[in-house]
Symmetry: D2
Subunit: 357 residues, 4 copies
């Protein structure tokens, strides 16, 4: 259940509503509100509130509207907010801002190395992906690695290098954050906070990302074997904590065939478009784990309506410190950028025709 606060509510009316809600729900923690679609809203697990209670809430002066949403996720549901959400990256920063989820534009291409290895590698890659037409630079400073003996990333030094790369190229930067106490420092340097597949249900991290003081958008990857509902509820944590700027990222789910690293579940893109207003992008690099499959699966991602791609690019994939097998070259990226534009163009033309007809 979602309560939309009336924009003209007085602070007294607001306080009255809050205390009413606390009594009604027996909540031990303070009721928090969030800003979504130009309104302050409060989401509740309304399962226990009957029609009478809803009625009472609706009559409060502070309440503009009470919306009953039947899915476990509330604020992220399209049932609550029918218009698609556009997430702006790099706003008020020294870079070109980029919109993810703008259905009239070409898909947003995020590209860069798996891990930031050193200044030269990062800068070379950053310039190359910009040249190839990418809109956002990706690169890992903190790397979640299966083994403690694998390269763990450069940490804060990596963040500084990413900042420098933004200054140099004008590309906004997306990078992973792995623990709540690092959210602020990552948010300071990066333009998008990435939450990785292994942390999709790291709830303290989701809350921290939702509350980040820089209001950086969050790129939320799907968990290794997360259901659609679990994924949307993870997004709900972030939005309920105060940050409506969430981008979902499909990156393959675990399956039984070792031929590919994961199984890319492209059907989830149109399915999510029914269920949520949040934009969805695809990571064909982690999904396949094989660079030669990345261009084709990028094309398919655009074909199903993804709002963007996040792709691992390395100037020399064979020498990459991490995930070289799945990294493509800048030249391959350029083709992907070109093809994704053509495909979008074709699909938009078709949609326009359908609309006219």
């Amino acid at each position: 259940m979602i309560i939309t606060i009336h924009p003209q509510a007085t602070s007294e009316e607001r306080a009255h509503l809050m205390s009413l809600l606390c009594r009604m729900t027996g909540s031990q923690r303070p009721i928090s509100s969030t800003q979504i679609a130009n309104r302050e809203v409060i989401a509740l697990d309304g399962g226990h509130l009957d029609a009478q209670a809803q009625n009472l809430l609706q009559q409060q002066n502070a309440v503009e509207r009470v919306t009953v949403v039947k899915t476990p996720y509330q604020l992220v549901s399209r049932a609550f907010k029918p218009e698609s959400t556009s997430v702006v990256i790099g706003k008020n920063r020294d870079c070109t801002s980029v919109i993810v989820g703008d259905t009239t534009a070409s898909p947003v291409i995020m590209a860069g190395p798996c891990a930031v290895e050193n200044k030269e590698q990062l800068m070379e890659t950053a310039l190359a992906v910009k040249e190839a037409g990418a809109h956002v630079l990706r690169g890992g400073a903190f790397k979640p690695r299966t083994s403690p003996y694998q390269f763990q990333g450069l940490g804060v030094d990596g963040l500084h290098l990413l900042s420098d790369a933004r200054d140099e190229t004008g590309l906004p930067v997306v990078t992973e954050v792995m623990e709540p106490e690092m959210v602020e420092v990552v948010a300071q340097h990066a333009d998008v906070l990435q939450i990785g597949a292994r942390n999709m249900q790291n709830f303290p991290l989701l809350n921290a990302a939702g509350r980040n003081s820089h209001k950086r958008p969050v790129l939320l990857k799907r968990g290794l074997s997360a259901t659609i509902d679990e994924w949307l509820l993870a997004a709900e944590y972030i939005v309920a904590a105060g940050n409506p700027n969430v981008i979902l990222c499909e990156r393959g789910i675990r399956s039984y065939d070792p031929q590919t690293r994961n199984v890319l579940d492209l059907t989830c893109v149109p399915l999510l478009q029914q269920l949520t207003h949040l934009p969805i992008i695809v990571d064909p690099s982690h999904a396949t784990g094989r660079s030669e499959l990345v261009p084709v699966m990028s094309r398919a991602s655009i074909a199903v309506g993804a709002s963007g791609l996040i792709i691992e690019v390395h100037p020399d994939p064979n020498t990459a410190l991490c995930d070289g097998k799945q990294s493509i070259t800048p030249a391959q990226l350029q083709k992907i950028v070109h093809e994704s534009r053509m495909l979008t163009h074709m699909l938009q033309g078709e949609a326009a025709l359908t609309h006219v007809a």
Copy 2:
């Protein structure tokens, strides 16, 4: 290991080779050969034959070439036959013949009802899918149903109706065969023998389909949770039994999220194109189980390079005796046909440009 028989081998030389092979492999069953790419070939599990044995074989007059293929599948591997295979449907029959796997043409669209229900329903659908641009009529006469209490299809009567529909529309017909002893009768009426997901490892059925006297092509669906290797080995059964005309069909694999019936593994299309010379088509209806997702996933299937689609269409999906939830209307099919042509056109244009460059 594959032995290509010399086209000028005498029957004496041939017999000599066969007896040598029996001795070498200790095989209790007669060595069988098959016709592939205009040559008679014999495939063996060559794991036990050493270099000396290979040498000896190579020196036989009956032998044109000995090819060592490292995958468990042999005849279906691209390592053995680098050129893509085109499968011709409806040859020498009273219908328009159709080529699956012709990379210079538009994708082949197979469409029709899940089950043949009666003459009116089938004829109405057949004419409608033809009108919409489909090339092949699909429809189940024998239906593998999870429960014995569900509609099991019209059986042989259904085959007759399908035959009539071919005569009426000129569309060749694909229909499922579920047991070895029915292969001949199904092959008599249908133009393609479909082997369903639940029968992908029904080895007697694969053998029977491989030996069908009408030389009908086989549409081999991927098993519910089959690996790529298992699937290709199932195809190998058919080809080794004498029928090189196999079309692979991805139809989704089992996974953990009930949101969709299966997970459509589109990555398998470009992956299979590396591993095998056989053409691959996609069934978005069974993969998703939701009609509203079929158009988008059809588009994505063409985008990854599928040679065709097989789609459930029903004039009135709500009244279908089986799988109505995943059936689309003829009008939706028409849009898919149109879109798949445009997309193929775009991709071929691009490929041509790449080739020139």
Copy 3:
């Protein structure tokens, strides 16, 4: 919905009921009945029959009882038949008959080689497993193999060898049947018809096994990734076709970790005991694929209440033509037999105490 025919119904009353049922259900195929728990019963997908129709049926002279069962499976459900079913193996044959599902006795141990390789190997193994305490001899004459180039079994010759082994040892024999037309010949030689995991949804085979003229029991293995419902519906096919003697066999399900061949789902045993009256045994050999894990997982299978085990045993596992890695020796089998008796004893003692208290 299940209709129990009154034991004193006249053939006229019976015929009247049948024609009523055909009208009510609009069934195109004749209504078939089966014998279960000393009664003739007819199962129907009663979803479409309303209370009035049920009432009408109940009033027929030929009807003893109408039972509404809410699961998709009917005859195999415990809701229909609360008492556990005991399946007798080797009745009226020249061997010691064995009861699967007798809760007062020790678990039934079925053991033998993966494949029948030759007379010596089979006889040696048969005598050894008998000596070790096994009750039933297993061995494959027809082998479903992933690759056409793997050893496919001795076929009918293997059946003869199994028959001889029964004569020699007095152990009844279980062996796999892979196609409907072989059911009768396999049923002639074997005492239990095994339907393998890959054929769990081979519906013509299930029907044929249900109708086998020798009334041999059927051992139905769980499919590679079959749900409990799908498995019970496969059993329902056999029972509905006239054969109530079905033994379910858990043999592991497909998962993502290559460490073991499959994941043994032991929880399904107590779960099935709630849902069905059919007995359940476990195959730890195929489940794990690793002989060193077979003894421990055998013990656990007995601990969860399995009515028996089916285990691959080879006198010399290293030389086995198939699945040597998962075969144990007769000496290891002997320990399993001993331990399973002790464990059953302990659990029965405990149950007795609980009962007294």
Copy 4:
């Protein structure tokens, strides 16, 4: 590769070794050592070090032994430490200390409510599980919940209640920690730090738990769809960070059948016993999600050799704030404790006999 430091190494020799290692591995982070089996050891990803390098290391005065371990996990491998590890819980605290992994004793039973709800509920449950024979009290103060609108636990207040319950009952306490910065406060109150399935690859949390200043043991649950290797590498993070006291806990893996919450993979217990020296316990409550299956699956867990069980118990499961459906009553727990002792007794007797023979 693991380097065991010589116990008599001087600090100069030690420093020399460290700088040699940094040069050899090009490591940017300081080489850390940990205490295991009474020795200081250093684990390295030795993949890049050749025989010559190994030789050089072996010759250092500070080095007692260089061990090459071929699995990606090193310190947790049985190849490195053949003797099983016993983990002591509640040492030097005001409670009865408990040993997990002592093969001569009965399995350790950990029991209590899913979530700490209030003082009365916790105290009542704590006394009841003690009375029933449990050795350790479990209870969640911080609850990882799929939805932000579900009860999230009492937090630090819950920790205080758990501390009080230990004082009252003498049972040591295990509770979950969800973020690195809470490790110290949880370690102050609890006797075992639980890391939940969703956090199995929360690497900062693993590191923090490994470094906790109270040296509390860590109960590491298997991730939702973690492979054995990934799980052992997660344990390796904790051990490599300085804490050798890790208990593995199997709690079911994700699969496709909604009948049970997860699939309990009991085969992993004997498999892990081959691969690691760490003790393994089982959580049948989360694995099945159905209280009626908990007693049977507890018995099976002991049968496969688990060193203990962790079970959800609630005095009144129907009113539980979380996971009531999977909670058993204290009376049911008592039977499980009794049965697990009898079964262990039987298995130890048998093992003794085998040993004598």
